[in-house]
């Protein structure tokens, strides 16, 4: 099936999820800087940014029946650009400004003509997140236990 803005294909959705995850992990300042660089038009609220709850679920034994672990605070925003494009964001936490910035980036990204520029504007945030992940992994790796087998007695 051809991909259109109304009926995005699975690859399109996966790519959009990557950008959404990047925005969720980024700081408000990072998103603000990205939008500044894009000289984005003013967005109007489809729905005013709102903070609410999502019940986080886990699975019994890690892989079994779901259970309710506890709630997470989530802030959502939905905007429309002057050209009619709509964008959405759902983020952990209570930062309405950040959610609105991410919703605007989401709307811009969905336009194939603007996609590359949006991704370029987010590149420094992506690199920062990747560097932090790599450093955390390196620090964790330094605490990995190397077991030594000590032979005892006669064989």
């Amino acid at each position: 099936m051809a991909t259109s803005p109304l009926h995005p294909g699975p690859e399109e959705i996966a790519a959009r999820q990557v950008v959404m995850a990047l925005c969720a992990d980024a700081s408000r300042d990072d998103l603000d800087a990205a939008l500044q660089a894009l000289a984005a038009p003013n967005a109007e609220d489809l729905r005013p940014p709102e903070t609410g709850l999502v019940m986080a679920t886990g699975r019994i034994g890690g892989d079994g029946r779901p259970f309710n672990l506890g709630e997470v605070s989530v802030t959502r925003a939905a905007i429309r650009l002057p050209d009619g494009a709509t964008g959405f964001a759902y983020h952990l936490g209570r930062d309405r400004t950040k959610a609105r910035l991410a919703a605007t980036l989401d709307a811009l990204w969905q336009d194939p003509a603007r996609r590359a520029r949006v991704e370029a504007a987010l590149r420094s945030a992506a690199e920062k997140a990747e560097a932090a992940r790599r450093q955390a992994a390196r620090r964790t790796a330094a605490t990995r236990v190397e077991f030594l087998t000590v032979a005892r007695g006669e064989d």
Partner: protein, 366 residues
């Protein structure tokens, strides 16, 4: 006659002003910021998130500041805040198998794919007060090493045991609706999902004490720590208007897989059984205690005698919530003047009757 009592308004106002000053402490000492609490009292923040049943580190840190560090009071503030918010829905179940592991240890297998990584732990410290911390100073940067090729893949220890059928499988996801004790009062018997929800938000001290009691013989379960892992997992949610899972961000969790002994029956070959613990933040003690109590509460399901407090789900679930417990205990300090007046009159009357009866008995004897 019922006499309503009013008053104390000025005293209450002034008490709250005094509380604000007491909260601030000595003004000559710099005031704590919420960010400082979040970053430097991180495990306390984690505990408030777990028992407040709301993952929001900044909010938990603010609640701790307002509560002067009182955990249960901070939990109260967080729980009260959540009642003001709408619920957007439920997340997809988090995949702890895909956790970005910051710590992972097993007491059952030395060599594991993905390895054993200690992460930031108090284990193996000498528990000697470090007076150097009393002085402010820079911290030596953490060591770094190139992650090994298998570092990204940490299969659960229980999955390794399950390959050979040595451990019972997890209860399968049958798509049935999941009970939520924040929406519906708990009906007994409560299923395992509901019990885990209650334990996840239960008081750490209470759950720890119950877990300990199973080790001391009150509902013994022969536990081994199959695995403990701490790290971040992605949380996703499917909003109606989008229809696909939206990544909300990542949360830190602690998971404990307890491996417990089980005798086989004529019908079933011997297999290990499981106890499971999962909590917000980094809290191994809580996750381990939760896994012990989860297993103990399965006594009836596994055909074991139910004889100890940790195996009695009504006892455990009705008493593990710190907010409910403190509410009922602490309400005793509120005015009970009318109740007590009634008791007082009753006791006076009974005493009067007692003395009248004993007087008349004495007269009769004389």
């Amino acid at each position: 006659m019922y006499v309503a009592v009013k008053g104390g308004e000025a005293a209450i106002d002034n008490a709250h002003r005094l509380l604000a000053e007491a909260r601030r402490g000595d003004p000559a000492v710099p005031e704590l910021t919420v960010a400082q609490i979040r970053e430097q009292m991180a495990l306390l923040v984690d505990r408030v998130m777990a028992e407040g049943s709301l993952y929001d580190p900044d909010l938990a840190a603010l609640a701790l500041k307002q509560a002067r560090g009182d955990v249960v009071e901070a939990v109260f503030l967080v729980r009260a805040y959540r009642t003001t918010l709408p619920r957007f829905g439920a997340s997809a179940p988090v995949d702890t198998g895909a956790m970005a592991v910051a710590r992972r240890v097993s007491a059952t297998f030395k060599d594991l794919p993905g390895g054993q990584v200690l992460g930031p732990t108090f284990d193996y410290t000498h528990r000697l007060i470090d007076f150097a911390l009393a002085a402010e100073g820079a911290v030596e940067p953490a060591a770094e090493a190139e992650p090994r090729d298998d570092a990204g893949t940490c299969p659960r220890v229980t999955d390794l045991l399950a390959q050979d059928g040595l451990i019972e499988p997890s209860p399968p996801d049958d798509g049935a609706p999941v009970g939520d004790l924040t929406r519906e009062p708990v009906d007994y018997p409560a299923d395992r999902a509901l019990r885990l929800q209650a334990l996840a938000r239960g008081d750490e001290g209470f759950v720890l004490g119950l877990g300990y009691s199973t080790q001391r013989g009150y509902g013994r379960t022969h536990p081994f720590v199959g695995e403990i892992r701490v790290g971040e997992v992605a949380v996703t949610f499917v909003p109606e208007e989008l229809g696909f899972p939206v990544p909300l961000g990542r949360i830190r969790l602690t998971e404990c897989q307890m491996v417990n002994q089980f005798k086989g029956s004529g019908a079933a070959p011997p297999q290990f059984t499981r106890g499971y613990g999962l909590t917000f933040g980094q809290s191994e003690r809580k996750a381990m205690a939760m896994a012990l109590v989860d297993r103990a509460l399965r006594a009836e399901e596994l055909g074991e005698p139910v004889a100890s407090p940790a195996q009695d789900q009504e006892f455990v679930l009705a008493h593990c919530d710190s907010l409910q417990a403190t509410g009922f205990v602490e309400h005793l300090k509120l005015p009970h003047y009318v109740d007590f007046q009634a008791e007082l009159e009753l006791v006076r009357r009974l005493r009067a009757e007692f003395f009248r009866d004993s007087d008349s008995m004495q007269e009769a004897a004389e």
